[in-house]
Symmetry: none
Subunit: 137 residues, 4 copies
DNA sequence: GTGGTCTAGACCACC
DNA sequence: GTGGTCTAGACCACG
């Protein structure tokens, strides 16, 4: 078996988000969803560089930011490790999976209704916006 | 009655997106969802500047980008107007509203399950990611 | 009069401390001693680069770290500004100055006793060490 | 009696100094203050490794640097020994102790004035800086 | 091999 | 003009 990596990064150049920020967000999300657990090792800077086309400094910058956030800890000569789960336990995995399933079912319906990715994103943005103006932070 | 604005911009400094890009995205989405119709007038640069804290040049830049995309047209001394709806007819308004309602109901459930904004974003990102790897564009 | 800069950086290559860290420490100390007040502007990255021989990225890195610490805020196109004083008001300026005078008098005596810089540093390190083992943090 | 160690190392991860450099500095200072005398034996690499969390190679590196400086001498299979006191005789022990006492009294006063470690360090840095600009080396 | 620092120099976003 | 991102590539500290 081939040592499946703890997380696989991807970059979306169209997103407008700086690369380092995309990496940071992906780690944050993975931790939040329990895909990364405390003690897990992030791929080494050099691994990331071979996986996606990116400069080592950019990866390093992302890892440094995560460390500043207290989510991760870089240890000299050993690697970078997840420290803690972001906001307490939160809902259990089962519940998360149900929500995820419901969401993907919704996306399915949206696509069948003729929406493309841009349309779906528009709906998400609109709803997120309403939600976040109701309850900030 | 008093000229309710066609669209109200907001800036999220934590988003990591450059300001001009946030404006562009908001117009794109509003057009997509039919909130902005061909012929509608965008708020003037000066209006935007008084509504949110932003430099006029930045608003200008956003409108220029939208014009380059063919979505709006700036007319000297008159204002900036929506030209067309982005991707053909798409689903009708009723359908869009139903999807929107379903989505917001889902978010409600997610919040009741104990997820905060970050958690919801994490789920959205995960699902969007899966969807977009299935059908890229 | 020539716009005396808010702070003048210096680098000591023999210190063993990375350059960005020396800058960070100098700002931290200046804030702590009240030499930099909230609202004060740090020299621009480009100014620092001309003042001391250093790469802009390194200065930028220092300013970013300070921003992460909440001591400073970089504003697009305007500059970098001190946000707050580090740990409450602390002792008043008069007291600080008296302590500073006493300390420099002590250093004077140490030098007259035949100690060079290295010797003084050794004494400081020894005393600091004892102090910090008594009362950590 | 049980061979009280000639010097006890400590590492401060927040110092920003590389580990090997912290060891070197501590030996240098101890020699300067007469805490280590010619002929004294440094703790063996293995002893250091059990006392503080550090890699043997790093301790080795520090001892090698000290040897290169002519301060110590590693003798195969026997240990590492202090060779000489760094900068000539310097002030006698009594004087050093008096200065040390005065310094610690000053730190006591500073602490009573409400300064924490960071504040004290800030004052020390400021005074050292003034002193070293007067008399460089 | 790992993470960490630094330089050089290009280009972008914003005022 | 300001800060911010990214690449390329060298070198260091550590295990």
């Amino acid at each position: 078996m081939g040592d499946e990596p703890s997380i696989r990064f991807r970059l979306d150049p169209r997103s407008g988000l700086p690369a380092y920020r995309q990496l940071v967000d992906q780690v944050r999300h993975a931790i939040r969803l329990g895909l990364l657990q405390p003690g897990d090792q992030l791929p080494s800077v050099r691994e990331v560089v071979t996986q996606i086309t990116i400069n080592p400094n950019t990866v390093h910058r992302a890892y440094r930011d995560l460390e500043g956030e207290g989510l991760v800890r870089g240890e000299q000569g050993r690697g970078t490790f997840v420290l803690r789960t972001k906001a307490g336990p939160g809902p259990d995995t089962a519940l998360l999976e149900r929500l995820q399933d419901e969401l993907e079912a919704w996306m399915e319906r949206a696509r069948e209704a003729g929406l493309d990715m841009g349309g779906i994103e528009a709906l998400l943005a609109a709803s997120l916006d309403r939600l976040s103006t109701k309850e900030p932070a």
